[in-house]
């Protein structure tokens, strides 16, 4: 009886973990949602010189690529960024409006633990967050027990999107 119960619990845990991994929204759909079906042409920001140093300082390591793609309209910009939680990258879509986070959505989660960060009860904490002087968020983000590394990765992505948004000087982007 106990063995059956244990086996059932283990099977449930494994299937739950495997269900938690995956793509929750395609990047194309995220952009369509963000720009109400009129996605602007992409642009790129090159991570060079001072910006490269700032990004490395913020992340604690180099960003995996030399340039980052973004979509901007008016004072809004959308970013699709990757950051490793424990072993695998988490793909996140982030919308910044006037230097504050408008929306953050986990698009693909590949790890077996920490998937709770995808739920709105967690991502809603980022709304209206901006960068303070030392590249930190001016909002407190509560941790999720057992998902610390994923939470850290998402916070880093939010800070990076805000820094890059600041860098592109969004006022110059035509509405």
């Amino acid at each position: 009886m106990w063995i059956r119960l244990l086996l059932f619990t283990a099977a449930l845990a494994v299937s739950f973990a495997s269900l938690a991994r995956g793509t929750y929204q395609q990047p194309e759909d995220f952009l369509q949602d963000t720009f109400a079906g009129k996605v602007p042409q992409p642009q790129v920001v090159w991570l060079r010189g001072e910006l490269k140093t700032e990004v490395e300082k913020l992340l604690g390591h180099r960003y995996p690529s030399l340039r980052v793609r973004y979509w901007a309209q008016g004072n809004r910009s959308a970013w699709i960024l990757e950051e490793v939680g424990k072993d695998l990258p988490i793909t996140t879509g982030i919308v910044v409006d006037n230097g504050r986070i408008e929306r953050i959505k986990v698009l693909t989660f590949r790890e077996s633990r920490g998937w709770e960060i995808r739920y709105p009860f967690f991502t809603d904490q980022f709304k209206d967050a901006a960068l303070s002087g030392d590249y930190q968020l001016d909002h407190r983000i509560d941790n999720i027990s057992g998902a610390t590394l994923s939470v850290r990765a998402l916070i880093k992505q939010a800070r990076l999107a805000l820094l890059l948004h600041q860098h592109i000087g969004n006022n110059s982007v035509p509405p």
Binding site: Q26, L31, Q41, P42, V44, P64, L66, R69
Partner: protein, 251 residues
């Protein structure tokens, strides 16, 4: 024979057994102690990050180079998919991949098409950008080519596509398809193949795995585990005979 003499003979025999058991167990104690201490400090010593390079150990574990490989010439250099690992010459590029579709030099980039993605690298092997569907990369890519004007084209199966020089926009390509030079895989030169085999094998087996297997005896297969179990029994016997003798000598 007096009782005292009998007692001395018994004790002597026990002492001899204790000595032999100790001698046999010594080797196992050394292996268990050394591997145990090292395993206690796996992270600090980076044993899970360092990999075994010794051919003898790699052969023992049956780690061989993959049979499947695809390689493309990019100027004087090579892009090769070896197993699931992508290499620029002998420099391993990030990620794991299933199929190398093509590779070519275009403007300042080395363009590599793998699976449903395109990777742009600098000539030094630094990743410039990873492009996929959301960035306009056509799905179902078949090959990469250079058209008569020196521009990059991609065979998307049902149509040919062309990226802008900065890869921010993709358009349908129209023109004389016969003028396109489609990139074809080329055989891997012997020295590069051997270097990749060495690199590939040297990235597979963490030192921690070997230490764990030595500690448990699994390095010698299922019988190794029994040998280590026997060693554990010897250690128990050693402690029992030691305590027994100590108690007897006290009488």
């Amino acid at each position: 024979m007096s009782r005292h003499r009998k007692h001395r003979l018994k004790l002597r025999s026990l002492y001899v057994w204790h000595r032999y058991i100790g001698l046999v167990a010594a080797l196992f104690i050394a292996v268990l102690s050394i591997t145990g201490v090292l395993l206690n400090h796996t992270e600090r010593l980076g044993l899970d990050q360092h990999h075994v390079q010794t051919d003898l150990v790699l052969d023992w574990y049956g780690i061989h180079a993959p049979q499947t490989m695809t390689s493309f010439k990019v100027g004087t250099r090579r892009i090769t998919l070896f197993g699931h690992h992508l290499y620029l010459d002998t420099l391993e590029l990030p990620g794991t991949h299933q199929q190398l579709i093509g590779a070519t030099k275009f403007t300042d980039y080395i363009v590599v098409a793998v699976d449903n993605s395109i990777f742009l690298f600098t000539p030094q092997g630094e990743l410039v950008e990873h492009l996929d569907g959301v960035d306009g990369v056509p799905s179902g890519m078949r090959s990469l080519g250079i058209d008569g004007f020196g521009s990059l084209v991609v065979d998307g199966g049902h149509a040919i596509y062309q990226p802008a020089t900065d890869f921010l926009k993709w358009t349908h390509w129209e023109g004389d398809a016969k003028a396109i030079e489609w990139k074809q895989p080329a055989p891997l030169p012997g020295p590069l193949y051997r270097a990749l085999v060495e690199h590939y094998r040297g990235e597979v087996l963490p030192v921690e795995r070997v230490l764990l297997d030595l500690h448990s005896g699994r390095i010698f297969g299922r019988y190794g585990v029994w040998v280590m179990d026997a060693a554990a029994v010897l250690l128990i016997l050693l402690s029992v005979t030691g305590i027994w003798m100590w108690l007897r000598r006290g009488r």
